[in-house]
């Protein structure tokens, strides 16, 4: 075990060791296995034990609205510049999430807590309110995705709402971070269904290779649609909730500076899997492009499973529908968890999955409450499902620069990070990403707003 001196956030040694809380005891039990694996040089076991927050953040963000956004892009433009653009956005996500993991492992504190304590209550609460607002909207979009998937099997909206809420209750009922993480990881693997669906549509691999290597053909048509899909694709890979979630989960898992290398493996593995599955959704959607997107207007514009079934067969439609259910369900779990972490951190209430429900009522209440509110909203008849899904991502893109700027400030904070603070190259990459995200969000918002008020 690395001593306190290895961590710059460490305080002076205490005269007598403080009593361990229940949260500490559970985390210590988890860490004992990490130490045993490291001592025994059992590399694969060590990797297995330390994987989690990065993969969950990345696959959690391959959520319902993101997969609908990728599929819409494929159905609108076919295979072209958006395919390599999606890979670029995942590279951006790795830069951001590596910083998040590093800050969490070094400080052992969540993002919301650090912003609030280092920069004051005003900035802390601004960030938390942004997050809760976008999370509730995004959660609505997740339930929309579950509803779209279940509708393919002729199941009503009520089943979608109940499924999401029951899953949240089940996963948080154990009072252990490890249990929660492993259940959600098990579900997240099924994000690969989008890749299976893509393979079954019989994609033209020559066109896929051409698009990846040449970033062409460049999309034509309406500038507004293009800007919406660019902003939506950016919002499909890097979002405020991922920042809150991965940092808090890294701290809750008990990562330390000794685990940074494995934390990076975890983050990169998540990005590779998410990029592969996201591109799968886009390739599946491209099967609809050659049919002029026929049939996607079902269920207020989000009827992709039905349309794919019509074009590529029932198996593809069913697999895509199951993929949407998985994408929505995993994101409901991770996004509601990020809401719980943010609220708990800002209020100063206990915020760990290692607490019982009674010990962390605010944390679990916010976690469950956010999911329950979103579940209630999707039961409203006639909701514009596709529009909600795409706009949830755009809103996340617009609010992301603020969250990223605070993240960069924290990652450069020498008092917190010591020798683990950002280097120059990291800062250049991170600031470029902030500028790019801000540009994408601004371009869409200004163009769409001017059109909405009939000024252009």
């Amino acid at each position: 075990m690395s001593g306190p001196a290895s961590s710059p956030a460490a305080r002076a040694p205490l005269a007598a060791p403080p009593p361990l809380s229940h949260e500490d005891e559970d985390r210590s039990a988890d860490r004992s296995r990490v130490f045993a694996a490291r001592r025994g040089n059992r590399r694969w076991l060590l990797l297995w034990l330390l994987l989690g927050p990065g993969i969950l953040a990345m696959l959690g963000e391959n959520d319902g609205p993101s997969m609908i956004s990728y599929t819409t892009t494929g159905a609108t433009y076919g295979l072209g510049a958006f395919l390599p653009f999606t890979l670029l956005t995942f590279a951006m996500a790795v830069v951001c999430q590596e910083m998040v993991m590093r800050v969490g492992a070094v400080t052992h504190r969540g993002y919301g807590e650090l912003v609030l304590q280092r920069f004051g209550r005003l900035w802390g609460w601004f960030n938390a309110v942004d997050l809760v607002f976008t999370n509730v909207i995004t959660l609505v979009a997740e339930f929309v995705a579950i509803r779209v998937g279940l509708a393919y099997f002729h199941l009503p909206a009520g089943v979608a709402a109940a499924l999401g809420v029951v899953l949240v209750l089940y996963t948080i009922s154990g009072g252990r971070y490890w249990r929660w993480e492993r259940i959600v990881l098990g579900l997240a693997i099924f994000n690969g269904l989008f890749l299976v669906a893509a393979l079954l549509t019989g994609p033209r691999w020559g066109a896929v290779g051409h698009a990846l290597l040449t970033a062409s053909p460049f999309p034509g048509g309406s500038l507004s649609t293009l800007l919406l899909l660019v902003a939506s694709t950016v919002g499909a890979t890097v979002t405020p909730w991922m920042i809150f979630f991965q940092q808090s989960a890294s701290a809750d898992k008990g990562l330390t500076p000794d685990d940074l290398r494995h934390g990076r493996y975890d983050t990169v593995a998540g990005a590779v899997l998410a990029a592969l599955f996201g591109c799968g959704a886009m390739i599946a959607g491209a099967a609809l492009a050659t049919h002029n997107g026929a049939g996607i207007q079902g269920l207020a514009g989000a009827g992709f499973p039905g349309a794919l079934s019509h074009v590529s067969g029932h198996a593809v439609g069913a697999i895509f529908a199951l993929g949407l259910i998985e994408a929505g369900a995993v994101a409901v779990l991770t996004i509601s968890a990020s809401t719980g972490y943010a609220v708990g951190e800002c209020i100063g209430a206990p915020h760990s999955m290692n607490y019982s429900a009674r010990g962390a009522a605010v944390f679990y209440g916010a976690n469950f409450g956010a999911a329950a509110i979103a579940a209630g909203i999707i039961l409203i008849p006639g909701a514009p499902l596709l529009s909600i899904a795409l706009n949830a991502n755009v809103l996340a893109t617009v609010l992301l620069p603020v969250a990223l700027v605070f993240l960069i400030m924290l990652a450069n904070d020498r008092m917190l990070m010591g020798r683990f603070a950002n280097g120059r190259r990291h800062n250049v990459a991170a600031i470029t990403i902030v500028a790019f995200v801000a540009l994408c969000g601004t371009a869409y918002a200004v163009d769409a707003f001017l059109k909405a008020v009939h000024l252009v």
Binding site: S7, P17, D24, L399
Partner: protein, 63 residues
Amino acid sequence: MYERDGEILDNYLEADQLWSETSRPLPRARLGRAATAGLWALRVFAIVLSAMVIYVFFSQLGG
């Protein structure tokens, strides 16, 4: 070391990882005027853009 269910176990957490330490607030960072002004500009930017996106969403619903 700590006792749980009558068993004496080793503590595998770093000192600054314990709840007693992480629940202790950190000192405030000092922000210069330029940094504060930049953060406020970013905040206003985010609010204005969010309002635009929300307006567009509702106007599309009406249309």
